[in-house]
Amino acid sequence: MSFIPLYFALPLVSAFLTPILGKIYKPLAGLLSLITSFVLFILALYGVAITQEVPLLVYKMGNWSPPLGIVMAFDSMSALMVLTISIVVFAGALFSLRYMSHYTGQWKFYTLLMLITAGMMGLSITGDLFNMFVFLEIAAIASYALVAFGVEAEELEASFKYMVMGEIGGLTFLLAIALIYAKVSTLNLADISNAMQAIRGTTFFWMIIGMMLFAFSIKAALVPFHSWLPDAHPAAPAPISSLLSGIFIKVLGIYTTARLVFNVFGLSRATDPLFFNILIGLGLLSIAFAGLTALNQGDYKRLLGFSSVSQIGYIMLGFGIGNYEGVAGAIFFILAHALAKGLLFLTSGAVVYSTGTRDLKKLAGLGEKMSTTAWSWRFGFLSLAGIPPLVGFWAKFYIIKGALKADLLWLGLVAIILSVLTLAYLLKIENSVFMKKGKSDAKPAPFTMRIAMVFLVVLIVLLGVGFQQIIDFIVGPAAHALLRGLEYSQLVFGNIALNF
């Protein structure tokens, strides 16, 4: 029995068991999600351990060999994504136990949560292009519903806006798949990457890449396709905001781009500098534009939403730099940002739960009243702003190191200068919510919510202190897996016999 299909099968089973159990006894729904996400976390650690020895595991669905059958290709990059997803989902599920208690229809919430998890997990391990689309849509549809979960006017409006943008992206991706299939008559990623080499550099080849980049830029909310994110992410319930900002946009937008660009189309900075410069341009635009806009926001969660757009820019920047340090930095940033932004959105949830508002002008004096939340916030904030020794610093450090190694000194300097923006807009929340003295009758957040936040704080500190181990065992192999480029297809076809 292979463990690879469990990554998406477990949450799927759990998603459809939830309504039944939730009908019998309400709290069971939340508990089931919590247990599932914890098992996924253990499985993800196992996956990381296994990819230390075998670079790529192949699982054949229904025992049909590629390129005819659908395969799951699990390498270090997938292992990292799966690990990050499971951490954020676990914290979110733990947080939801109390946070969602005043919503009606809890089992619907947990069903959607598990569906979104299944979609993201499947997307990170699949080795088939159409399968990628299916998982992407599973995750996306569940997220549209979750954004509208409160069914207030603003939430519905945000959800509709998000749905329109997201579906344009999804359907463009589907059109690109159709065109690829028309040209190469295969859907297996490894097989496509072999076949695409024959038409490399033609107009058709670049048109496909352009369509994919457009589709995934919408999903990743890069400026100028970001307009849905600052509406949609704050509208969702806080644990879902944390999941969407923390990991969702990275799996649907960044991971897919990276996998297709490096492993399937086989682009590299040495051969296609223009494309990588476009990535750098998109990244810089996102960092600067969204960072400046975030400075003007007066809403706790909306500010964090703009911050996500800005931070996604750093990840794109790292991939755009394209050498080992840059890519490793980008991947490390995925992990670091997932922890930090997940944590920050959870603190926003705790604040909303206790005070009922997220308007920065009305909030004050929470630093003393909600000390656990305040200190969790500070760790997340310092990590995101890149203060050593927290994990966010090392991620940014590797991206800048990559820029220097690629002889892009100006880029390194610009990245450092722009990270002042991060500090500036986050200080705005720190000042008005936690530092400012003021009367407040807020109660401390409930116990399970605090545990969820402390869990992420501990990870931020641990990963920051032990960054060398993270680079050696998790991030480094993942970067090598992407930079392996076209050898990906040889590994997939070579490892069929190894039956995991």
Partner: protein
């Protein structure tokens, strides 16, 4: 070739509707058009003139079958499109309940 180009044209018409129309229902119809265009393109990719259904029997040698994979893909894509369309219409209904209008210019509680 013309027939593929007209699929892309249909895709663009749908996209035009999504981008320019102000009525929520018309936007949903725009999506239906786009989905239809992509599905049609898939079906046409697999099509061969005068070919047989891809069922292997002892009498037939598999030389002139239509490509069955796009048909399977279209089925999946239709199901996904059904899901998104249903959800979109449900959200539109709820929006109508809150704002009493289908006009997106009047639905702007969110700033920016």
């Amino acid at each position: 070739m013309l027939i593929f180009a007209s699929c892309i044209l249909l895709f663009l018409i749908g996209l035009y509707a999504i981008v320019t129309k102000r009525n929520l229902i018309k936007i949903a119809i725009g999506f239906a058009l786009v989905e239809y265009a992509v599905n049609l393109l898939f079906a046409l990719i697999g099509f061969k003139k005068d070919a047989l259904a891809p069922i292997i029997t002892r009498l037939d040698t598999p030389h002139n079958f239509v490509d069955p994979i796009p048909q399977a893909l279209v089925l999946t894509a239709i199901v996904i499109a059904l899901g998104t369309t249903a959800l979109m219409l449900a959200v539109i209904m709820r929006i109508y309940g809150r704002y009493k209008t289908f006009d997106i210019a009047k639905i702007k509680k969110l700033k920016g």
